[in-house]
């Protein structure tokens, strides 16, 4: 079980709990604003972009090459960016804070 905090562009804080699947699926299921997950999680649409709280990067790990290539062309991306369809929910993600990208 992992507790994950989302901060939306309206500054709403949404705390969700999940046990399996991807963080994107959890967010879409609970209508977290700004996370659309259009492609269903295959890394082709970048509509699930989040900024990981810097101290939580250790838990999420860095973006993969395919993800980085995608984010490279996103003007709002930074070194804390991840596509959350690529974050699998597990106990290790417990407590992470993600800010939904604009």
């Amino acid at each position: 079980m992992a507790k994950i905090t989302f901060i939306t562009s309206d500054d709403d804080t949404i705390i969700l709990e999940g046990t399996s699947g991807s963080v994107m699926e959890l967010a879409v299921e609970h209508n977290v604003k700004g996370i659309d997950g259009n492609c269903g999680g295959v890394c082709s649409c970048a509509t699930c972009h989040v900024h990981v709280k810097p101290e939580d990067m250790e838990k999420t790990g860095q973006a993969s090459v395919i993800e980085t290539d995608m984010l490279e062309l996103d003007d709002n991306a930074d070194k804390f960016s991840r596509l959350c369809c690529q974050l699998e929910i597990s106990d290790e993600l417990d407590g992470v804070e993600l800010t939904v990208a604009k």
Partner: protein
């Protein structure tokens, strides 16, 4: 070769040069073939522009048959973003439960009708009908309107004799003018009325702008959806095991749809007009010439996709550009994805196998390349699933 196979004609040129050349009505196009170049170029709207003369970024060019600007498609950022933001919520409606239910009911009924017939021509008697009926949901107009759209045939701008048919385009334009006038007199809950009531930067959209958006909605989602649906049927006729997999693991359907969009690439390419002398992958490109973002080639780039010429139904990482990329990614993608997801799910639940009797391939002539994009006709039979 299997009937459902769509070969990759770009491989050699993609590896050796990265570009292809196409003459299109004396306005030549340099086709960008590599995934990385296609994405970078799509993102760089300042040099590779969409806001050229209406019709010029389309290949084959529509400048001789169309004066109207398609919106937001033929506008560059930052203004593009204002129009896009305006229509985005409307084009996300396919995610609503009620929309999905209506779409499911439509497709279910069509599959049911189709199973009763011994030979069905998939393009005219299945894909076109499916696409037209589904479009009534996107427009939020009565279902009966689809009968008129079906009567126009498969191509909005094209006919059997000519790749670009001005008479056909006029039928569509006159129809849209009539619908806009009706919506002005008697506003309803449809796309026309929503657009007519909308403002960008404090100004109401003009009739011309409303028309530009409506034309895009008709043109962008016709051949593309028909190709995607028809290719999916051809694929499933040779891959009964995929139907079984969708039945047993419906969660694979999302990934299967993305993979089909990658493999089929229903829209081969889209152009941009170059604003200044520049270069792409070491090839010089002159100002006021055209490049194309060749989605179909990028989607077979082995630098990105393992086994690019195979449909891997549960491909996990799939950064395809079948719906384009960046600012101008496909506005109708949510609708298209929902159609494909519902179609695969409905076929899996009801159809045990699909037989193909005969077919004729639709080959696009891109000068240096000949690309199969779908079929001119495909005669088939859906066999009911016996439990």
């Amino acid at each position: 070769m299997q009937k459902s196979e769509l070969p990759d004609p770009f491989k050699k040129a993609r590896l050796e040069k990265g570009i292809g050349e196409m003459n299109d009505q004396n306005d030549p196009v340099k086709m960008l073939l590599r995934h990385k170049d296609v994405r970078k170029t799509a993102h760089n709207y300042k040099i590779f522009q969409s806001g050229a003369i209406p019709g010029r970024i389309v290949i084959p060019s529509e400048v001789n048959i169309r004066k109207i600007r398609q919106i937001p498609f033929e506008i560059d950022p930052p203004i593009h973003g204002l129009y896009r933001a305006l229509v985005e919520p409307w084009f996300k409606r396919p995610l609503h439960e009620e929309y999905a239910q209506k779409l499911t009911a439509q497709i279910n009924a069509l599959v049911e009708e189709t199973m009763k017939i011994d030979t069905v021509e998939i393009i005219q008697e299945f894909a076109l009908i499916l696409q037209s009926r589904a479009l009534t949901l996107l427009f939020n107009v009565p279902y009966e309107e689809s009968e008129i759209w079906i009567s126009w045939g498969t191509h909005v701008f094209r006919s059997k004799d000519s790749a670009l048919d001005a008479d056909k385009a006029n039928i569509l334009y006159n129809y849209i003018d009539d619908q806009i006038e009706k919506a002005i007199e008697n506003p309803k809950e449809d796309l026309y009325s929503m657009l007519l009531a909308s403002e960008v930067e404090g100004k109401k959209l003009t009739k011309e702008e409303v028309k530009g958006l409506v034309v895009l909605t008709f043109a962008g989602g016709r051949d593309t959806i028909i190709n995607a649906v028809t290719n999916a049927i051809a694929y499933l006729s040779e891959h009964q095991e995929s139907l079984e997999r969708f039945r047993e693991e419906p969660e694979t359907i999302n990934k299967a749809v993305e993979e089909m969009i990658r493999y089929f690439s229903p829209l081969t390419q889209m152009g941009r007009v170059v604003a200044e002398d520049t270069h792409v992958c070491e090839h010089a490109i002159k100002a006021d010439t055209r490049v194309s973002l060749c989605w179909a080639s990028a989607n077979r780039d082995a630098a990105v996709f393992d086994n690019p010429n195979e449909i891997i139904i549960d491909r996990k990482i799939n950064p395809h550009v079948g719906f384009g990329f960046s600012h101008h990614n496909c506005l109708g993608a949510t609708h298209a994805r929902q159609i494909m997801r519902v179609l695969l799910s409905t076929l899996a639940k009801n159809v045990g196998s699909i037989e193909i009797f005969d077919h004729k391939e639709n080959i696009e002539d891109l000068d240096e390349f000949k690309r199969k994009v779908g079929y001119d006709y495909l005669n088939a039979k859906f066999n009911r699933l016996t439990k």
